[in-house]
Subunit: 327 residues, 2 copies
C-alpha cells in the first residue's frame, strides 16, 4: 500500500507519520511506501522498513499535485492547510492553500482518467459551523462559518463529497475538534491558547489566556486525532453513504474545567502560571466557534475520543513530555 500525507511537517502530520511508520501498515495491509509532502521538507520517520519520499512544494502551484498523484497513492491524508488565525489575517494565502490546494489535489486525481480512485481523508474543522448555536450541534446543522478558514474548510468538504459522488475518489472529511495539548511552539491558530494554558504551565512557563474562563469548547488529543484519521481511512464507503463529512467526537468542557484538570494533575503552582489577558481578535473568533458537538454519526461509526480533559493532559505528559512536568 502507498500512502501520501500532505501537511506532513505539521504536528498532526508528524504524529501520523510516526504512528504509520511504527505500525508498518494501515488497518491491516502493510505500507510499502510513504510520500510526505509539505511546504517545508518533512522529516523522515525512524524505524520504517518501506520507502519514504519527502517533497517540499506548494500543492496549489501548477502541476505540483499531478506529480505526487503520478505515484498513485492508495490512501491520501490531506492535512495541509493554513490555520485559522493566519487564514483570517492573510486572505489570499488562506484561499490559495486551503481552497486552491484542495482543488488542485482533487483535479489531479480526476485528471488521471483511468479509473484510479484513492481514499482521501481530509481534515476539516468544526470551524465550518458559526454562531449562534443550539446547546448541542447536531450532525445535520448547517454550515455557517464565521471565519475565512471555516469557509475554506466548508468548501473543501462539499468538493470532496462531489468528487466522491462522481467516482473520482473515496472521500472522508473529518471535522476535528480543537486538538490539545499541541506540543512544541505556539502556531498561529486562534485556538492555540487552549493548548498553551496547559503546555506552558507544565513546562514551568507562563501562559496567556486571551478569553474568559467560561468559554465552552470541544477538545481531543493528538493521539485521538491520529486515531480518527486511521479509522477514517478504513471506513467502508457503504457504511458512510453520501454524507462523507463527519463531526468528530471530543471532550466538551469550559476553560475553567481545563484549568481545574491541570490543577488536579500538576498542582496549584502550575495552574497559577496562567495569566489572563483578553485579546479582542481571539475573543471574536472564538465567540463564533461551536461549543458542544454531538458527533452521533461519528460515534456510531466507531470514532473514539477521550472521556475527560484529565485524560487529554495525561496523554500530553506521556507522549510529549516523557512522563514528567514542572509542578
Amino acid at each position: 500500500m502507498k500512502v501520501l500525507i500532505t501537511g506532513a511537517a505539521g504536528m498532526i502530520g508528524r504524529k501520523l507519520t510516526e504512528r504509520l511508520a511504527k505500525d508498518g501498515g494501515l488497518n491491516g495491509p502493510a505500507i510499502d511506501s510513504m510520500t510526505l509532502l509539505d511546504v517545508v521538507p518533512p522529516a523522515k520517520p525512524d524505524g520504517f522498513s518501506g520507502k519514504v519520499a519527502t517533497v517540499a512544494t506548494d500543492l496549489a502551484a501548477s502541476g505540483e499535485a499531478a506529480k505526487v498523484i503520478a505515484e498513485r497513492p492508495d490512501v491520501i491524508f490531506h492535512l495541509a492547510g493554513v490555520v485559522s488565525g493566519e487564514a483570517e489575517l492573510d486572505f489570499d494565502k488562506g484561499y490559495h492553500v486551503n481552497l486552491d490546494g484542495m482543488r488542485a489535489l482533487l483535479e489531479a486525481i480526476r485528471a488521471t482518467g483511468d479509473g484510479y480512485r484513492p481514499k482521501v481523508v481530509y481534515t476539516s474543522s468544526i470551524a465550518v459551523f458559526g454562531a449562534p448555536f443550539p446547546p448541542t450541534i447536531p450532525d445535520d446543522f448547517h454550515l455557517t462559518p464565521l471565519t475565512s478558514y471555516g469557509t475554506q474548510k466548508a468548501i473543501g468538504e462539499v468538493l470532496l463529497a462531489d468528487y466522491t459522488r462522481r467516482g473520482f475518489c473515496y472521500g472522508v472529511g473529518i471535522r476535528l475538534p480543537t486538538i490539545v495539548v499541541r506540543p512544541g511552539k505556539p502556531n498561529k491558530a486562534a485556538s492555540g491558547f487552549f493548548s498553551g494554558i496547559i503546555r506552558e504551565p507544565l513546562a514551568g512557563v507562563e501562559a496567556v489566556l486571551p478569553v474568559a474562563e467560561s468559554v465552552v469548547h470541544t477538545h481531543a488529543s493528538p493521539r485521538a486525532a491520529i486515531g480518527f484519521l486511521i479509522h477514517a481511512a478504513g471506513l467502508a464507503p457503504e457504511a458512510l453513504g453520501p454524507r462523507i463529512n463527519l463531526s468528530m467526537p471530543g471532550v466538551c468542557c469550559t476553560v475553567a474545567d481545563q484549568i481545574a484538570a491541570l490543577r488536579r494533575i500538576a498542582g496549584e503552582r502550575a495552574a497559577a502560571r496562567i495569566r489572563r489577558e483578553p485579546d479582542p481578535l481571539v475573543v471574536r473568533i472564538v465567540d463564533g466557534w461551536p461549543q458542544r458537538i454531538e458527533a452521533r454519526r461519528a460515534r456510531e461509526l466507531g470514532f473514539k475520543a477521550e472521556s475527560s480533559f484529565e485524560e487529554i493532559i495525561r496523554i500530553h505528559i506521556d507522549e510529549d513530555r516523557g512522563g514528567s512536568f514542572v509542578a
Copy 2:
C-alpha cells in the same frame, strides 16, 4: 443607481431586466444605468430612459469580471450559471461557470481595494440540500448537495458570506425553489419537466413527465422570483445578520397536484397531453432534491411567493401567453 445583471439573457435575467426597465428604479432610487452581461448578447429592454450596456463574455475568463466591475455597479444581480442537468453532464463547464465565475466576480470586487462595496444578490438553489430530508427542511438544515450544480451553488453561498463578512460586498444569497412555469423552449435543467407539463399542454403540445406523479416539490413563479431578487436587493444588512443565504418560500405540492390544477384551469383535454415516460437520470437527480422548504426566515424578512399552484399557472397564462391557452 447603477445595476449589473449577469446571466441577463436567461429567463430570469430577461424578466428582471424588463421589470427594472418598467419600474425605472430599484426599491426607491432611480436606475441611471444597467449593464447586462451574458455569454450571448442580452437584449436591451424597451421603455427604459437610462443607459444600457450589453456585454457578451465569460465572467470566469481572465480580466473579464474586472472590466464590468470597473463601472462600479451599486447593485449586482449575479444570475449567471450553468443549470443542474448541464453541470451534471459537463463537469468542467459547471465548475468553470458556477464556481470560477462566482469567484472571479467576488475577486474583482475585492481587487478594487478602495472601499467599493456593492450589494450582490446571488441566485442559489434548493439543490444545495440533498436527501434524505426531514418532512420539512428547516433554515438550519445542513448543506449536503447530491449534484455538482448543488455543490457549486453551496460553494457560492459560503464564498459570498465570507466576502460579505470581510467587508468587500453586501451579499444576499437566495435559494430559489423550482421556478415554474418557464416560458419558451425547454432548457437543460433536470427540473425542466415541472414547467413542461404545464407549458406544453396549454400550447396544445404533448409534454413528457419523466418522474412519478407522487413527487413532491416546492415551486414559485418567475414573477415571484423577480420579487425575491428585488426584495433581496433592498434588505438592510442589519436585518440579515451573518447568515446571508436564505431558502425562499414557494408552493409545495405533488406532480399530481400540479396536473389537477392544470385540469381545473384548462380542462381534461389539456391535462391528457401529458405523456408518462420515466427517465432514470432525471428520476435519480429529482429523488435527491428537497421537497418541502420551510423558509421561515425568508417569510419573516418579507419574501412572498404564491399561495397555490393554480395561481402559478394563471401568472404564466397572463404573463407569457397573453391571457389565452389551448383547451
